[in-house]
Subunit: 526 residues, 2 copies
């Protein structure tokens, strides 16, 4: 066995460059790189994959051609220990190659890929809760290098842990510059050989995904979008090109732990595609990503059938649903999946109603979404003489919401690991939390002078019971001024109606008659 | 051919009673009744069906045993003219029987069964719009005869055109009387032979469905419900009994044009069933109802997957969604089917929050649903010394909402045949209507002093364009006081922003500073 391994390694050393050395951390990227043919069309004519295995467990990953005679296949191990691989290829030179590598435990900042947890929420693979708080820079990787660096610098100081970004460049209002790189061989703007990818484009994309990973940010990679309008034509390729692209992209990116797949932005605005095309796209991605990264599809005016089994969470555009927690929570019941409002209009001042929310209005929408047990996405569209709007190109953030979203993120980090759910469903939407344990009560635009302490009786479905005498503490949160003010003393429950518990002394909490207040209530564990 | 027919008819005359004579109107019930065996268990041991055909078109309908040696098979013809039938049975006596009958055009009040129309709405089979306005008397057919008659008399003077009603009796708060009839042979309360139906029970059910039909009311027949709690055990029969019951019921009722199927009330509260049971139920009903009557399933706390193809419309319980049109419209996008809020809490005064809405609150919820392009259901729960609450037993209506719902029904009858849709989706939910043609603007609890005339620019998806100079009339509707006040003169459009048209003279409409006002705007057709 050891001799076989040695032979394998020797063979590899002679014919390929094994980029990742023979040790890689769990949820890192192990890559097998082999030299192979350059004649014909290596992107379409060479089948190449590998099986990675440890004991009875095995994963098959597609390989890809990376130009210059290099063929690679990548693997994200989900367990430490010794792993082996065996390649398969239609080309003898790439076929039957074997190797062994050691996977070490993950480093401190590596919690693995993000998964759905507790039906409506997310957690990293190691169980660490992931409280989604995303922003949007659709075309940031297509801008000049210095601007990309500036975007990364901004993100390093911003509260966001997810970024929506397009693979294909964007041609739209305030977005009429050519990208620094093109995904295909050919001549701009429209003469492309869609059977020949440009490896440098994809290497750059990967580098940016890794840059985000280092910042603790999930890359919500948008595979198709309508903001091409035929300028380059990446929105209207034939089906065979679409499918080839999806297989190439899943082969390249699946092993990166911070990748999420967003099949499309505003899928229904892509008039050259049918709904059935997106079903096919979803099935291709689901079948070829061996790790089943989060997979969603973002709508324009027409919401996709998010009940389909390969859709992991609902990625919703709705300009109105988060105007109240009562409406924000409705999609949860329908999908029984996490609901991420990836577009709720943007903070900004463009003369379009999709992009002229005031900062308090956007923060208000986030909080409505939070107490409704959903997640809300940020975007910023302030006009700028250089036409650099964060929403599309990145750069610097000019708005006032990010600081408040940083405050919100701290609140979320302090919430129960099961996430925040509506606790008085279809009755009083301002209560989020985990019944019996933790409550976040958001008053929105109301300006209450006081609030009489009242907790809803947990539903029988929750499995939680409250009893008279249980004790809670309270804090007043000013979500705009970013303050947390503890309320002195504790509150002791006494049932008042069939539906609620008040404080036994009938205590109320004084409030400063301002909008955007919340109260956080936590159980005192004796 | 004529001789063959004559022979068939002669044969039929000797061995069976052909209840429906040889002429029946379109969408009426044609019934073949034959005598057959009474030994063994005729409900389970005899297969019996018939094919009804006219030229190349044919419909296969299941027959059923109606007791006393009578076997029947019913057919609802959807075309006038000559029809033929041929029976099939496992019993020679019932097999191969043929006949011919004439179908006449429908009578004036007969518009056929109700179907989905314009994606989100309903129409009768002859194209007449059907504006759903339902109420609920779950157990009315199980009460004493005089009370049933009183219920029918009340319905004759009420605005409702749909009634939700259970097949099985109800055992619940204010509902602990035994029914007048039981669906099975056996001994109350729990010793039933679920392989032997009680035909008299079902004949009575059919009679009540016909009584409703005469009043122009759709019977939303609820096939299962949890309000048995094991008292009779109809909520916890074995799967084989459930399935037999569904086949028996679809065989008996499918030919009645005003039947709708509601698989369950609060399906998820039936703890002895799984979600998969209801999928099976739905598939059975869809497969055995040859006419594909409207088919839905009503939820408790957990919403069913209403995207399933055999579900024709979403039947939703949600105590909060219709508190605003903004939330009421959300399910439409998800399902792309009509949304019927069959339970939004009730007008009444029971000490449960599901049944203590004030009359204005219930009417408010209806109007929110209407401008959101959905339909809302009525229920009434006023405490009564005789424990007769309309919601369950029928009797008389005591509330103040029905008069206002009659007013609403008149408004709906005057609306465009395509129905009312949200016209400024995800932006301004108070506008319902058909863009360019008809608008209903509902102000809910706001008490405006005036309203500046403003119509949203139709979305490009609507295919409608408005231009400066188009003229409209307006009326002020007081939805509580039930008045319609025309606004003098006309309004002439002039584009003001990218999103709207105002009146060219900037006209406003004076309003009486009361809640529950609406404005109706209609295009002046030159």
């Amino acid at each position: 066995m050891k001799i076989a391994l040695l032979l394998s390694l020797l063979l590899l050393a002679t014919t390929s460059s094994l980029r990742a050395e023979s040790a890689v951390e769990q949820w890192g990227v192990f890559e097998v790189s082999l030299s192979g043919p350059t004649n014909g069309n290596p992107f379409t004519e060479v089948q190449f994959s590998a099986r990675f295995f440890q004991g009875p467990q095995s994963v098959i990953a597609d390989g890809f051609y990376d130009g210059g005679g290099s063929y690679r296949v990548r693997f994200m191990p989900d367990k430490p220990g010794e792993w082996h691989y065996l390649t398969r290829s239609s080309c003898a030179q790439l076929n039957g190659r074997t190797g062994e590598f050691r996977v070490t435990p993950p480093s401190a900042a590596n919690h693995g890929p993000v998964r759905v947890a507790h039906v409506y929420h997310f957690a990293y693979a190691d169980g660490t809760p992931y409280e989604e708080l995303g922003t949007t820079c659709y075309g940031w990787i297509h801008q000049r290098k210095a601007l990309q660096e500036e975007t990364l610098q901004t993100l390093a100081g911003a509260p966001f842990n997810k970024l929506r970004m397009c693979v294909f460049p964007k041609w739209y209002d305030w977005n009429t510059n050519e990208p620094i790189l093109y995904p295909y061989e050919g001549t701009p703007p429209r003469a492309w050989d869609t059977t020949r990818f440009n490896p440098v484009f994809f290497q750059h994309l990967e580098q940016r995904i890794l840059d985000l990973q280092r910042l603790g940010i999930q890359a919500d990679v948008i595979l198709f979008h309508p903001y091409d309008g035929g300028h380059w034509g990446f929105d209207r390729m034939p089906a065979v090109s679409d499918d080839l692209y999806l297989r190439y992209l899943t082969a390249r990116l699946s092993a990166y732990r911070n990748v999420w797949w967003s099949l499309a932005n505003e899928w229904d605005f892509m008039k050259q595609k049918d709904e059935s095309d997106f079903v096919r796209f979803g099935e291709i991605v689901a079948a070829h990503d061996p790790y089943h990264h989060l997979l969603s599809i973002h709508n324009g005016a027409k919401i996709f059938n998010n009940t389909l089994p390969w859709i992991t969470h609902a990625s919703i555009q709705n300009g109105m649903a988060v105007e109240s927690p009562a409406s924000a929570e409705l999609y949860r019941d329908v999908y029984r999946k996490p609901v991420v409002y990836d577009e709720v209009k943007y903070e900004g001042n463009i003369p379009r109603r999709r992009g002229n929310l005031t900062p308090p209005e956007l923060v208000f929408r986030f909080w409505n979404g939070v107490v409704a047990g959903t997640y809300v996405g940020h975007g910023e569209t302030y006009l700028s003489p250089d036409n650099i709007l964060w929403w599309s190109k990145g750069g610097v953030l000019k708005g006032q919401s990010p600081a408040r979203l940083a405050f919100l993120r701290k609140v979320l980090a302090d919430a129960p690991p099961e996430g925040i759910d509506p606790v008085d469903k279809w009755q009083d939407a301002k209560y989020g939390g985990q019944p019996g344990k933790y409550y976040l009560i958001y008053f929105g635009k109301a300006t209450p002078k006081s609030w009489k302490f009242l907790l809803p009786k947990p539903s029988s479905a929750s499995g939680v019971t409250l009893t008279n005498g249980a004790q809670f503490t309270a804090e007043v949160l000013d979500t705009w001024d970013m303050t947390v003010t503890p309320v002195p003393g504790t509150f002791t429950l006494q049932a008042t109606t069939d539906y609620g518990y008040a404080d036994q002394d009938g205590r109320t909490i004084d409030l400063p008659e301002k909008p955007y207040l919340a109260i956080r209530i936590k159980r005192v564990i004796p």
